[in-house]
């Protein structure tokens, strides 16, 4: 799940996680940017580097969360291949681990995506995949291709050894039918521009763009035929007044003027959003609209969004 900053990427990733878990599946929601967005969203303690139960989904499903930290992943990797013991912690304290992931930015991405791959391929004692789906709250549109396309990153990390083989596996997974990149957007200029650019970049890198999720769509209240005129400032105030009277509201002039001003603003917004949606259709990707929730986002709202996603065919 990617999207421009501020579009609600984390929120939609979480809602998608719940939707996919509905009906008894096991889903992992992973974050990679070290900002504890999941913990904030679900109002829990900051997540450690480890998979934790997050919420249950309708029908017996489970959503778990994982905060992937590149430094912890590198230490885990060292532990696995070099059996470092306490020295690993010392290295971290000395700043060597942070240094390694900073100096070779590609390494950081390989570690993060490598952990995702490990979760995706892990099986339990019966041979069943531990997770049916993994939803990644990925970096924003500007950085997502670099993040997923670890082939390029490999140029600056070692060309052989365990990291290399790990990266090869990641490349295969990311470019397979099993991975799809959804883009969250708002019906505003910059998010739409970035969405279209990201889709193109994904295609060029041979990664699969999925759906465009249009977030926070507000309900148009005006009858369709009135939108254009109202957006131009033409609202028939006398007709509004007559209608209000009919409903038993006899309002002073300044209130009526205020209502008309609100109507014009609403119409401009609706018209702008419409042309924004048209621009998006150029991308020729499936589109899904999600409503603006006037009370804001809490865990209950996530379930509401998840339900909408299921209704719209997410499974």
């Amino acid at each position: 799940m990617t999207g421009k900053g501020g579009t609600g990427k984390t929120t939609i990733a979480a809602a998608l996680g719940i939707a996919l878990a509905a009906g008894g599946r096991r889903v992992l929601l992973a974050e990679v940017e070290g900002r504890q967005g999941i913990a904030q969203l679900f109002d829990t303690e900051p997540l450690p580097y480890g998979e934790r139960h997050l919420v249950s989904a309708p029908g017996g499903g489970e959503l778990r969360a994982l905060h992937i930290d590149a430094e912890a992943a590198l230490l885990e990797y060292f532990q696995l291949f070099y059996n470092l013991g306490f020295a690993g912690r010392t290295l971290r304290r000395m700043g060597a681990i942070e240094f390694a992931t900073t100096l070779a930015p590609g390494l950081r991405d390989v570690l993060l995506t490598g952990k995702i791959k490990e979760c995706a391929t892990r099986t339990d004692s019966t041979g069943r995949h531990v997770y049916d789906h993994i939803v990644v709250d990925a970096p924003p549109t500007g950085r997502v291709v670099k993040f997923l396309d670890v082939t390029r990153a490999l140029t600056d990390v070692t060309r052989s050894g365990p990291i290399k083989s790990q990266a090869d596996g990641v490349v295969k997974l990311m470019h397979s039918e099993q991975t799809v990149v959804h883009v969250v957007t708002l019906l505003e200029e910059m998010p739409i521009r970035e969405t279209l650019e990201a889709i193109e970049e994904l295609q060029q890198a041979d990664l699969r763009p999925g759906a465009v999720l249009i977030n926070r769509v507000r309900q148009p209240r005006l009858p369709d035929r009135s939108v254009t005129a109202a957006a131009d400032g033409r609202v028939d105030a006398s007709r509004v007044r007559a209608g209000l009277r009919e409903a038993g509201l006899d309002l002073p002039d300044d209130v009526l003027e205020g209502l008309v001003a609100e109507t014009v603003e609403h119409a401009i917004r609706v018209a702008t959003e419409r042309s924004a949606a048209e621009q998006l259709s150029a991308a020729d990707q499936p589109m899904l609209q999600l409503p603006d929730l006037p009370d804001g986002i809490d865990v209950a709202a996530l379930y509401e969004l998840a339900e909408l996603l299921v209704e719209k065919g997410v499974r």
């Binding site: 910059m190 209240r221 007709r239 007559a242 409903a247 309002l251 209502l259 401009i268 917004r269």
Partner: protein, 380 residues
Amino acid sequence: MATRRALEIDRLIDDPKTKVICCCGSGGVGKTTTAAALALRAAERGRTTVVLTIDPARRLAQSLGLAELDNVPRKVEVEGFNPAGELWAMMLDMRRTFDDMIIAHTDPQRAEELLASPFYQTISTSFSGTQEYMAMEKLGQLVADAEWDLIVVDTPPSRSALDFLDAPKRLSSALDGRMIRLLTAPARAGGWGIRKALTASLALGMKAVSTVIGGQLLTDASAFMQAFNSTAGGFKERAQKTAELLRSPGTAFLVVAAPEPDALREASYFVERLSSESMPLTGLVANRTHPVLADLPAPRALAAAEALEAKNSAPLAAAVLRLHADRVALDKRERRLLQRFTRAHPDVPMVTVPALPRDVHDISGLRIIGERLAGNGKAA
């Protein structure tokens, strides 16, 4: 209810002692537009102003005459725009700023070597933190120019407002060379004293670290750093110098936040961070609010709308009533969020800037936002 202190923008931009205004905040809150509107207003009120933008929307950039990205300030000259002062604008080109920094501090031959280093290609394009570092560097240059009465800075789009403060430090500590020396030292003849102090397993760890980074990259990095540090004085020193600049009394920080929980949470972190570093926080711009324009309680509006809808009559009036009720709900939510912020940070002055219904990409739109920033924010 906590009483809110008003943020007086005009007093800030009119004060000749205000030299730099940094607009900070998380992504998607309207930082760039706010920075441009502030600069425009300051220019119209007589100051020679330059605005440093990072990644403006294309049409906004065009309206400021920034079609070209050439990393130097250009004077904004648009018909119907005759400010008492001057407005200059520029867009940050991070790669070019980096190039210029190297060229300015080294002899031509050295510079050429540095610029051709494969390691330089990596840090100048794909390092996280380079953009922030270069924004700081550019700001430092603009200050040194002494041509500008007022510099307004937009900060790079990042998930966190804190990145602007932290990234340069992160970058410079990665590049200051200590760790590289540590990692490459054991290989060198004679080695380091520190080598003895390393236990066998730690040495193995160091070996592991240098293996995953890659020998070639380490060698490139080490060569680059030696050359750079010996001439340009080191990344850390430069970063420290700009950081000091931000601490000076002429610098004002504005936090821009949309009235949304995430943006306000980020703003809170930023406020706390600035005060813990005793940096000058000037105030919060609560951007894109939706104040109610008509004094009519939502329940009454909804009841009337339902009555009309039941009769299938006056659809326009019913729609007007419904959208008004939506707006009342939105306004209530925004106020609640802002009040929560004020309660936690009662000393932070605030101004609310009502949203314009359209994206802003011309001088007149920026002027309206400037008016609203100054508190003359009657929504359209």
